[in-house]
């Protein structure tokens, strides 16, 4: 039994060590990511105490199936993205190590205030990483909104503490389950906004355009896949498993999620720059996943989340690489870019099709799953909204794919001679990385049974629609 606290402690230790040995920063980073990815596979499920004090009093780490799945994917993706874009890391190796610790902390912690601390750690690493584009006004915007958001989260948290006298998630969820939900409206709303800034819910996501839109091939996939994934998992933890929502708030927040989905997809439809298209698509997907979590459909939401972040990792890597090497990511200027980069193009296409939810790819499995879920709640407007979102998403992604594959003017047969002359380079490491990711999407789509079986243990736990997650309040010492 490996204690999951090592997932936080080891990268943190390496981060502190790395400022002593500056020359070995990148090696330490790769080592840390490798060790973490390896450790995840050996973890034993259960509850782990920090300092040895039993839960409502001390801080605990909760490693249930939900956290385990999250850790597996987040650490795996982190390792892959780091290896793919080692040349882009520069001075940020230490920041990335801390980010790894923070992300794992987010997924593991069982304490609301501890979550706030990890939220801030992760957010600050994000501010620093976003500054690598040298567009400081966007990083500043992100910093102000992120800080305001976590401040509101803290406000909501302290109201919960004032009422229920505890900060522990399990303890709180037990106490809140029997409480009158009307008095939870303000704290839940504040916590929702606080997390909403990070998970990109409209209208709290004004920072996303500037930050994602300027991301390079390291920061782009890292934000859109790893950070977004972890933040959404945290959102799911809080809103599907800890805080019970009253009917009033739930309806409003569901509407906000649905609005995010449609508005994000529409905004993506109106854009021509690849990173902008993808960032609005990320917003739309966040809206979808948030909606699922709020409906209590944890397992479908997690599946869709994995589909989204795996695909986005591929898409943003390629888009970032395009912007890095050619100085533009306008689809028009890059038409036919895949004619000379076929393998990368195939990976990009698979990721795009999976994101739309086309069969043979993992996205289809998750889409079918979430539709089954939503229908099982006897909710008939939401699937309509989701499918409308799929139509819009498919339209702009297919338009993008067609543009990038088939150069040519309207009325003329597509020919390679029309392809962009931009000096696009995609390093071999990145190609290998995105091929691996798209292979995962393909295998997941062809053999959903395999994934389903592996996840079935979690499926049993997560499929229950009760919004409370329970574990024993074990004694410490």
């Amino acid at each position: 039994m490996i204690n999951p606290v090592l997932l936080i402690a080891i990268p943190l230790l390496l981060a502190f060590v790395s400022i002593l040995y500056k020359g070995y920063r990148n090696n330490l980073l790769v080592f840390g990511a490798l060790v973490n990815a390896g450790l995840v596979l050996t973890l034993g499920k259960g509850e782990y105490l920090i300092g040895g004090f039993k839960p409502p009093f001390g801080i605990n780490l909760v490693l249930d199936d939900y956290a385990f799945l999250g850790l597996l994917v987040i650490n795996g993706l982190f390792l892959l993205i780091t290896l793919m874009s080692l040349d882009k890391i520069g001075e940020n190796a230490t920041v990335l190590l801390v980010a790894l610790a923070g992300l794992n902390g987010l997924l593991l912690t069982g304490d609301l205030f501890n979550l706030f601390v990890f939220l801030e750690i992760t957010a600050i690493t994000a501010y620093i990483l976003s500054a690598s584009s040298r567009q400081y006004q966007h990083s500043f915007n992100y910093l102000v909104l992120g800080t305001l958001g976590s401040g509101l989260y803290l406000f909501g948290l302290i109201l919960l503490y004032a009422v229920f006298g505890s900060l522990n998630m399990a303890d709180l969820s037990l106490k809140m389950a029997t409480a009158d939900t009307s008095q939870l409206v303000i704290p839940s709303l504040l916590i929702f906004i606080g997390l909403g800034v990070e998970v990109k819910i409209l209208p709290f996501n004004g920072w996303v355009r500037g930050v994602y839109g300027n991301s390079d091939s390291l920061v782009g996939p890292l934000f859109s896949a790893v950070y977004a994934g972890a933040m959404l998992l945290v959102f799911g933890r809080i809103f599907a498993q800890v805080i019970p929502l009253g009917a009033y708030l739930k309806t409003l927040l569901l509407l906000l999620g649905a609005l995010t989905l449609i508005a994000g997809e529409l905004a993506a439809l109106s854009k021509t720059r690849i990173r902008e298209i993808l960032l609005y698509s990320s917003i739309g997907q966040s809206g979808l996943i948030v909606t699922l979590f709020l409906s209590g459909l944890v397992f479908p939401a997690v599946m869709q989340l994995f589909n989204n972040i795996l695909s986005k990792a591929v898409l943003f890597t390629v888009a970032g690489q395009m912007a890095d090497t050619t100085g533009t990511d306008d689809a028009e200027a890059l038409q036919g870019a895949f004619a000379r980069h076929k393998l990368a193009g195939v990976a990009f296409t698979i990721a795009g099709l999976s994101l739309i939810g086309m069969p043979l790819f993992y996205g289809f499995v998750s889409k079918i799953n979430l539709l089954f879920g939503v229908f099982s709640l006897d909710n008939y407007w939401l699937p309509g909204v989701i499918l409308l979102g799929t139509v819009i998403e498919g339209t702009y992604l297919i338009r993008l794919l067609v543009k990038l594959w088939m150069p040519g003017e309207e009325g003329l047969v597509s020919h390679e001679s029309h392809a962009t002359k931009a000096p696009l380079e995609i390093q071999r490491a990145r190609v290998m990385g995105i091929v691996v990711l798209s292979a995962v999407l393909l295998v997941g789509g062809l053999m959903p049974g395999m994934i389903q079986n592996n996840l079935s243990e979690s499926g049993r736990l997560l499929d229950e629609t009760t919004p409370v997650y329970l574990f024993d309040l074990k004694g410490g010492q």
């Binding site: 500054a131 400081y136 992120g146 800080t147 406000f155 503490y161 355009r209 500037g210």
Partner: protein, 114 residues
């Protein structure tokens, strides 16, 4: 009453965020917001007639009425985190000033490539 002051400070901070266009003033507004929050957090732990949560030779046993020590611990963390983000925010502001020659956010381009 100090609790009301906390909420009032939070609102004043948000007002500053809404109306200010100067980067430094935005950070100051953010700090006012955080300050209000911290005051509110402390006020939540106040117990009438309570003593400071430190055992000394005078207040020498745990049976006394103490104010809630937990919010104080939380506030310490919140203050340090606020300090960290403030420092980083000021650093961004200085870089923006060096690049654009102004601290007024209206005068800084908002386009993705500028």
């Amino acid at each position: 009453m100090i609790q009301y002051a906390g909420i009032l400070l939070i609102l004043i901070g948000i007002y500053g965020l809404l109306t200010e266009t100067n980067l430094i003033k935005i950070i100051v507004s953010l700090n006012v917001f955080e300050l209000g929050l911290n005051v509110f957090i402390i006020s939540v732990g106040f117990v009438r007639e309570g003593v400071a949560p430190i055992l000394t030779s005078v207040n020498n046993h745990s049976g006394l009425v103490f104010v809630d020590p937990l919010p104080q611990a939380l506030v310490l963390t919140a203050i340090v985190i606020g300090l960290g983000t403030t420092a980083l925010g000021l650093a961004f502001a200085r870089r923006i000033y060096m690049k654009h020659g102004t601290l007024n956010i209206e005068e800084i381009g908002g386009g993705i490539n500028d």
